[in-house]
């Protein structure tokens, strides 16, 4: 069967083979890790998912890379709570809105967790930088949330 300028079965299969062999080693390497990602599924209905709504890295453009040391800013939002995060070379600086004391837990998919406490202004620091990908859990007087995963 011939279709569209001679794109026949053999040509299609050859192209597919090229595409497949190009990605197969890396895909195989990450498949096990990605399959394990399911264990991070949140089943707690009271936990708000705070989606990544702003990322300064998405606005700077590839051609104008941020200079060394400039902070990347991430904003996660859910209905009652917002988390603003600055990624500095050696630490994360965060701000909860509305402000308030809260337990903040940083978790990575490797299974490490770091717990810090925000002050009454909602300000917190995580040092050193956690591994990647990571996300935050925040337990506040206003509500509880978990953020989207991000790679730093």
């Amino acid at each position: 069967m011939t279709e569209r300028g001679g794109y026949d079965d053999e040509a299609l299969l050859a192209d597919l083979g090229e595409a497949w062999r190009d990605v197969a080693p890396v895909a195989a390497a990450l498949t096990t890790r990605a399959q394990a990602a399911f264990s991070w599924r949140t089943v707690d209905a009271d936990l708000e998912l705070a989606a990544l709504h702003f990322d300064s890295a998405a606005h700077s453009g590839v051609s104008s890379r941020a200079p060394e040391g400039a902070a990347r800013v991430l904003v996660f939002s859910s209905t009652p709570l917002t988390v603003e995060l600055e990624v500095l070379p050696d630490q994360l600086v965060g701000q909860l809105v509305p402000p308030g004391a809260a337990d903040v837990t940083v978790e990575t998919d490797a299974g490490t967790t770091t717990q810090v406490r925000s002050d009454e202004r909602g300000y917190f620091v995580v040092a050193p930088l956690p591994g990647s990908p990571m996300r935050l859990r925040c337990d506040t007087a206003t509500g509880r949330l978990v953020t989207d995963w991000v790679s730093l």
């Binding site: 299969l13 990605v23 990602a37 995963w149």
Partner: protein
């Protein structure tokens, strides 16, 4: 009254082997809101579930997404195995190192875990993966914290994009690869398994392939033809071929090696 409802439930959903898809929730019987014999309905559900596995002509993706969203870990594992090649293809175009590619891909999969329930419909999954993979790769480039490959033996990609290649041809090839991998991911299991096995390098003998898949050697050729035909009809390949038509009035992608 009860027997009548029971009969209606059965006649409304007669067993139709090869027709029931996982995308059709087996619970949307109009009779379900009314007092019905629960035991009988459960029997009907069991029959439907079995038919899903028998039916090898339907794309399993919708069923896998629905099952994973309900907490089925096996369904999730299958989705990851099917779509990781496409996701890697999307991310690697940004020429990240291998370690960076894995981290970005893992971020996308982790995020997918929490967003399964918010997909508008199960078939939105591939588009979500491609869009999110591309965006995360671009963000990674923009953060300026790239770890450039240190050891070329370990970290460099097998070269497919050659520097002397015509950019238009390279772009067409990249789009074609993406469409082929997206199409492959949604084929019925037997067809997908066969195509994957045909791509092993060095090639396997048909006897070996037949033994591994548990199918007669004589059915490999016909299955291969059906799989390729099916692949052509997947939305990704239909869109790719339509795009090619628009760009080159003379016809499809020529000059392929």
């Amino acid at each position: 009254m009860e027997p009548t409802l029971d009969a209606r439930a059965r006649s409304a959903r007669p067993p139709r082997p090869g027709r029931i898809t996982a995308a059709v929730p087996p619970l949307c019987l109009p009779t379900r809101r009314r007092p019905v014999p629960t035991v009988r309905l459960q029997l009907v559900e069991v029959e439907l579930v079995e038919e899903v596995h028998v039916d090898d002509e339907q794309s399993p993706i919708a069923g896998l997404v629905t099952a994973a969203n309900q907490g089925d870990q096996e369904a999730w594992r299958e989705l990851v195995a099917r779509y990781s090649p496409l996701l890697v293809n999307v991310i690697r175009r940004f020429r990240l190192s291998r370690a960076e590619t894995e981290d970005v891909a893992q971020t996308v999969w982790l995020r997918m875990v929490e967003h399964l329930g918010s997909l508008r419909e199960p078939h939105a999954l591939p588009k979500w993966l491609v869009t999110t993979g591309r965006r995360e790769a671009m963000r990674h480039l923009a953060t300026g914290r790239r770890d450039w490959p240190q050891d070329p033996q370990q970290d460099v990609w097998p070269v497919v994009l050659t520097d002397d290649e015509d950019p238009a041809e390279a772009l067409d090839r990249a789009e074609r690869h993406q469409a082929l991998l997206a199409g492959l991911a949604e084929l019925p299991s037997r067809q997908r398994d066969l195509l994957v096995m045909l791509m092993v390098d060095p090639p396997l003998a048909y006897v070996e392939i037949g033994a591994r898949l548990g199918i007669p050697v004589g059915s490999i050729g016909p299955t291969r033809s059906r799989a390729i035909e099916r692949l052509r009809q997947t939305p990704a390949m239909v869109a790719y071929q339509a795009g090619v038509d628009e760009l080159s009035p003379s016809g499809g992608p020529g000059g392929r090696s």
